[in-house]
Amino acid sequence: MNGINSGFGAWNPLVWTALFLGIVAVALAIRALGRKDYKKKTGQTKVYLSGNEEPEPEDLHVRGDALYWGMVEALSGYYRRARALHTGILSDYFAWIIVTLGIVFVLLAVGR
C-alpha cells in the first residue's frame, strides 16, 4: 500500500519514478547515439550571431522582473486593480475584516 487511491484514480509515485527514470535512460541512450567528434572550446561550439559580436554573459541574464513581463503586461488590467487593493494601509486591512464579517453574518442570517 504505497500509492493513494482517491476513489477516482490512483497515484503510485514509485511506479511513476521508475517510469520517469526509464524514460530518462532512453533519452540518455538516444543522446549517446549522437555525434561525439566535435571539439569543445573551439570554433565548433562558438556562438554565431549572424556575424555580430557575442554579448557578455552578464548582460544576457534575464532579470527577475523581465521573465514574465509579457504575461504581466497581458493581464495588466487585473494587476493594476489587484495592486491597488494591496495598499499597505492598516485601516484598509481592518476594513477588509469588517466587510468579511458583514458578509458572513448576512450568509448565516440568510442560510438559517
Binding site: F8, G64, H86, W96, L101, V104, L107
Partner: protein
C-alpha cells in the same frame, strides 16, 4: 502506560515554557551553553510531540483527555457536576497531526537559527520568544477549552509579533510587526466576544460541552461568524491575508517558517470550530460555499500577486498564502458536503489535511533557503541577484526541491495532496478543480522565475559563499520530509491523515463523549 506518556500532553506545553524561562538565565554562561540548552529542550519537545502523537495514533485517533489539577487526571466531571469546570486538554487524531507538523518545523527552525544568528546578539531574548510561540501553538492544538484556546492564541500572537519585530534597526520589520499585532488584537477580541456570547448562552466554555449544547439560535450563529472571521484572518485567508505577507516577508527566515505553523494552528482552530463545535448544530451550505469561495480567492490572489514580487521573501509569502487556499478548499468541500457525506467529501478532507504537512515542509524549506540566499548575497531583491547557483549548489538544489514540491510536480509530496484536492473538488464542481490546477501551474511559473533570477545565469554577485552547515542540515531535513512524503504518500495518508480527517469528519460524537461520558 507509564507516567511519562500519561503526562506527555501537558509536558509538551510545559517543556517549551520551562525552556522559555530557563534560557535567559543560562544565556549568561555564553552562547555555546545557551545553544546546547536550546537544542536539548527542542529535542525534548519534539520527542514529547512524537510521544503524544504515537499514543493517540495507536488508538487510531480516539480523543484522550487530560484534566488539569484533577484526581484522577481523566476525571472530567467531578461529583455531581454536569458541566466540566476544569481546564482540560483533549488530544485526538487531528491534534496529533498538527502537533507533529509543529514539532517538525520547530526542530528545523531552531537548528537553522543556530547558524543564522551567529553574528547577532540578542539570542537570550530570541530563543525564549521562540519557545513561548511553540508552547502557545502546541497549546492551541491540544486544548479542549475555548477560553484556554483564546489565551494560547494571544500568547502566540504576542510572541510571534515580538519575533517579527525582533530586528528593530529594520524599519520595515517594525511596520510589519505593528500591523500584524494590531490585526491579531482585533481578531483576538472577536474570539473573546464570541466566547462571551457562548458562555452567556450555555454557561460553559468547554468545547465538548458547548458542542452538545449549541443550536442554530441567532447568538450562537453570531459567535460562529465571529470565530470564523477571526480565525480565518489569523490563518491568512484572502481578503484578510495582507498581514501575512508583511509578517512572513519581514520576519527572520526561521521565524517565517514557524509563523506558517502558527497560521496552520489557527486554521486548525477554524476546522475545530466548524466540525466539532458547530458540527451538529449548523449545516449551513451557504457558509460552506462562502469558505470555498474565499479559498479560491486566496489561491488565485496568492499566486497571481506572487508573480509580481521583487522581494524573494515576500514572493514566498504570497506562495504561502496561496497554499492556505488549498487547505481551505479541501476542507471547505468536506464541510459543504458534511450533511450528505459523499465519498469524495472525505477524500477532500484527506487532501486538505495532508496538504497542511506538505505545505509546512515545502514553505518552511523555501523560507529557510531564501534566508540563506539573503545571507549569502546581502540582498532580497530578485532583480539584483543572479548566478548564485555557481557558489551555492546545495542551496539551489534544496530550493528547487521545495519549489517543485510546492508547485505540485510529481513525485514530490505537494502533488499527492493536490491530486486528492483536484479530484474531490472536481466532483463538487469542475470549476473549482480547474482553478486549483491553474493556480498550481502559475505557482510553478512563479518559482521558475525565482530560480532563474536567483540561481541561474552568470555570476553577478561577488564573494558569495555556500550556506553554513547548520543551515544546510536543517534545510536537508525538510527536503527529506518532502521527498519521503512524496514517494510514500499511501503510508502517511493511512497512518497520519486518515485518523486526522476521521477525527474531524466523523469524530464529533467521540470528542463529546470523551468529556461528558455516556
Amino acid at each position: 502506560m507509564n507516567a511519562l506518556s500519561v503526562h506527555a500532553p501537558v509536558l509538551l506545553v510545559a517543556t517549551p515554557l520551562l525552556a522559555a524561562f530557563v534560557v535567559p538565565l543560562v544565556a549568561k554562561l555564553g552562547s555555546t551553553v545557551r545553544n546546547a540548552v536550546v537544542g536539548v529542550f527542542t529535542l525534548l519537545t519534539a520527542s514529547l510531540a512524537g510521544l503524544v502523537a504515537a499514543n493517540v495514533l495507536a488508538g487510531s485517533g480516539a480523543p484522550s483527555v487530560y484534566v488539569f489539577g484533577a484526581s484522577p487526571l481523566n476525571l472530567t466531571l467531578p461529583s455531581g457536576m454536569h458541566v466540566p469546570i476544569r481546564i482540560l486538554f483533549e488530544v485526538d487524531g487531528m491534534s496529533a497531526f498538527m502537533i507533529l507538523i509543529t514539532a517538525l518545523v520547530a526542530v528545523a527552525a531552531t537548528l537553522y537559527s543556530f547558524s543564522y544568528f551567529k553574528e547577532h546578539s540578542g539570542g537570550e531574548m530570541y530563543y525564549p520568544l521562540l519557545f513561548l510561540l511553540l508552547a502557545a501553538i502546541f497549546g492551541m492544538e491540544e486544548t479542549g477549552d475555548l477560553f484556554n484556546f483564546f489565551v494560547f492564541l494571544e500568547i502566540a500572537g504576542i510572541a510571534a509579533c515580538g519575533l517579527i519585530g525582533f530586528r528593530p534597526w529594520r524599519g520595515r520589520s517594525q511596520e510589519a510587526a505593528f500591523k500584524t499585532m494590531a490585526l491579531y488584537t482585533l481578531s483576538g477580541l472577536f474570539v473573546l466576544i464570541a466566547l462571551g456570547l457562548l458562555y452567556g448562552q450555555h454557561g460553559g466554555l468547554n468545547i465538548a460541552y458547548l458542542s452538545s449544547r449549541v443550536g442554530a439560535e441567532m447568538l450562537d450563529l453570531v459567535a460562529l461568524g465571529l470565530l470564523v472571521v477571526a480565525l480565518g484572518m489569523k490563518a491568512g485567508v484572502a481578503p484578510m491575508h495582507m498581514w501575512a505577507l508583511d509578517a512572513y516577508g519581514e520576519a527572520p527566515a526561521p521565524i517565517s517558517a514557524v509563523l506558517v505553523a502558527s497560521s496552520q494552528a489557527s486554521l486548525y482552530g477554524l476546522f475545530r470550530v466548524l466540525f466539532t463545535l458547530f458540527g451538529a448544530a449548523v449545516s449551513v451550505a451557504a457558509l460552506g460555499w462562502f469558505l470555498i469561495a474565499l479559498s479560491v480567492l486566496t489561491l488565485f490572489v496568492g499566486v497571481t500577486m506572487a508573480l509580481l514580487q521583487k522581494d524573494i521573501k515576500r514572493l514566498i509569502a504570497y506562495g504561502a498564502v496561496s497554499q492556505i487556499g488549498y487547505m481551505l478548499l479541501g476542507v471547505g468541500v468536506g464541510f459543504t458536503t458534511s450533511g450528505s457525506r459523499p465519498a469524495y467529501g472525505f477524500v477532500a478532507m484527506q487532501g486538505g489535511i495532508f496538504h497542511m504537512v506538505n505545505d509546512a515542509a515545502c514553505i518552511g524549506l523555501l523560507f529557510l533557503a531564501a534566508g540563506a540566499v539573503h545571507r549569502a548575497s546581502g540582498t532580497r531583491d530578485l532583480n539584483r541577484m543572479g548566478g548564485l547557483g555557481h557558489d551555492m549548489k546545495w542551496t539551489a538544489a534544496l530550493f528547487a526541491i521545495g519549489a517543485l514540491a510546492l508547485a505540485g510536480v510529481p513525485p514530490f509530496n505537494g502533488f499527492s495532496s493536490k491530486l486528492l484536492i483536484y479530484e474531490s473538488s472536481f466532483a463538487a464542481s469542475p470549476i473549482l478543480a480547474a482553478i486549483a490546477i491553474l493556480s498550481s501551474i502559475l505557482l510553478l511559473a512563479v518559482f521558475m522565475k525565482v530560480f532563474q533570477a536567483a540561481f541561474l545565469g552568470p555570476r553577478l554577485l561577488e564573494n558569495v559563499r555556500e550556506a553554513s552547515r547548520g543551515m544546510l542540515v536543517s534545510m536537508l531535513m525538510l527536503a527529506v520530509v518532502v521527498v519521503v512524503f512524496g514517494l510514500f504518500p499511501g503510508f502517511f495518508v493511512d497512518k497520519l491523515v486518515t485518523p486526522a480527517a476521521k477525527a474531524l469528519w466523523l469524530g464529533r460524537d467521540a470528542y463529546v463523549r470523551a468529556v461528558l461520558g455516556g
